[in-house]
């Protein structure tokens, strides 16, 4: 298989260089654009397997760039932001970004996000999402096993876990989860979500206080991490 191609759109040369070194060292091919215009042209001339997009571009609002890309580009987009503003991150995720990282980030984290985004875009349907000695989530039989033992989950608990697990590695926003599981009338009832997440953790985590599967993205949402790199 040829190297996956990643397009970096960021106006800071240092950041582009750093990303390029990290990515090349991990067997990705890299192209870049320093402005929104350059990035959009490069993307359309030669669509990459994944785009890393900085939201703070000089010539155009990053959210608009994202919107434009999403009109035709279906591969993963990971956004980079300096602001920790949760609203902007949530907006970007709602606009079609697959994931986000805020600057400064750790390289390990970036690579994990890229791997998971690429994996999700060519996911194999029908296989158990997680299949380890510790945890098995089988969407076909709608069963969850912890250390070989069948877990008793309520319907809501199962739906929530299945939705998160189907999007393995991807962050899902509070609103998205609330709408999908409880319905559009519940998007502001985040306390339901938190309670159910806490209950799920007590059932599937080895230590509910130090979760390995159901991770919190503070102020944004939750991320299920099933496949270990």
């Amino acid at each position: 298989m040829s190297k996956p191609e990643i397009l970096i759109i960021d106006d800071e040369e240092q950041i582009r260089k750093l990303l390029e070194i990290t990515l090349r060292a991990n067997n990705y091919a890299v192209t870049h654009g320093a402005t929104a215009k350059e990035g959009l042209i490069t993307a359309s001339n030669h669509p990459p397997d994944l785009i890393i997009l900085d939201l703070g571009l000089p010539d155009k609002d990053g959210l608009l760039v994202l919107q434009e890309l999403r009109q035709w580009y279906t591969n993963p987009i990971i956004i980079l932001t300096v602001q920790k503003s949760e609203e902007i991150i949530i907006k970007a995720l709602d606009t079609g970004a697959n994931d986000y990282l805020s600057k400064p980030w750790r390289s390990g984290e970036l690579l994990a996000r890229i791997r998971s985004a690429l994996r999700n875009s060519n996911q194999d349907e029908g296989e158990p999402i997680v299949n380890s000695d510790d945890l098995v989530i089988d969407l076909n039989t709608r069963t969850v096993k912890k250390k070989g033992e069948l877990l008793k989950l309520t319907t809501t608990e199962y739906s929530l876990l299945a939705l998160l697990a189907r999007n393995d590695g991807k962050v899902l926003t509070h609103q998205y989860l609330l709408r999908a599981i409880w319905g559009p009338g519940f998007i502001n009832q985040s306390q339901y979500l938190r309670v159910f997440i806490a209950q799920l953790r007590k059932k599937i985590e080895n230590d509910p206080n130090r979760p390995e599967y159901l991770l919190t993205e503070s102020g944004v949402g939750y991320r299920f991490v099933g496949k270990r790199d």
């Binding site: 985040s190 306390q191 938190r194 997440i197 509910p208 130090r210 919190t216 503070s218 102020g219």
Partner: protein, 356 residues
Amino acid sequence: MTSILNRKIGNNQQYLVSVLFILVTSGVCYTIAPVLGYKVVALVLLLAVSVTAVLFDIFPVLLSAVLSAFIWNYFFIPPRFTFHVGTTEDAILFIMYFVIALINAALTYKIREVEKVSRKREEKANTLKLYDTLLHSLSHELRTPISTIIAATDNLMSNNENLGAENREQLITEISRASFRLNQQVENLLNMSRLESGFMQLKKDWCDINELVYSIVKKIEDNKISQKITISINPNMPLIRTDKVLLDQIIYNLLHNACLYTKPDSLIRISATNHADILQLIIEDNGEGFPPDEVENVFDKFYRVKDSRAGGTGLGLSIVKGFAEALKGSVRLQNVTTGGAKFTVEIPCEISYLKV
């Protein structure tokens, strides 16, 4: 006091109140004039003008001075109920009354202006002093990690062959630590400017305290601290509704502070409970505590405990206090009798009825 009154009472109201005050005083004088005589009335009215001069701006005071002079003339100086003045003595008295009332008003006004100027000057000096402290601690706090990064990278670039693998590793670790420290300082500065800007918009949402505390402790432990942090929170503690970002920063700064200023292998304990609708957080350590005479000052901006070893801008704890107050709560520090410092944070907040 004067400035408070000025702020509370608008300009139009000042005119109204001073006129009313003079009228009421005159009314009282009218009843006692037959007993005390009109000359005493002049003194009482002058006193009333002086009182308005202490309380109000120059123009309402001048108005009351003029008004009281005419009232005195019309109602009290014989022949009464005319502006006619009978004797030369009374004419001189009236003119003197008028002048004294005006001087009185003007002098008081002048004194207050001088006060205002000197207060402004003092404030400016304080701000300058604060900036000075800020610049001083900033340049130190930012330069130290920057110097580390420059020196270490320089070393790695020019000396690469002579450095052993172990040294290289060490330099890289130092660069990493310095950058995290730098990031932390910038974070603190941003938080401080958020506080200073005066308008902080709270964003309240339901928050799982267990989750929050464990994630903060994990973040701190990721930086390879030697202290041991223990967490004691009821695993079924209900959700609370608060601004998670602010609460996060409060807990992080207190724990980070405890790690910075206690000896390696010290114990740090964090506990959280809710009593009615108050969230109480306690962060305590078994370090040396704070010097007793400095306990009061540790939350002041840029305050650093004398002769303290590790660095710090003196911003961390003042942010804790500022954020706790922004959440309508409080933070206090005690030295524990067995040694060590104990911070207690109390935040009023809505508690969820849902069972976790």
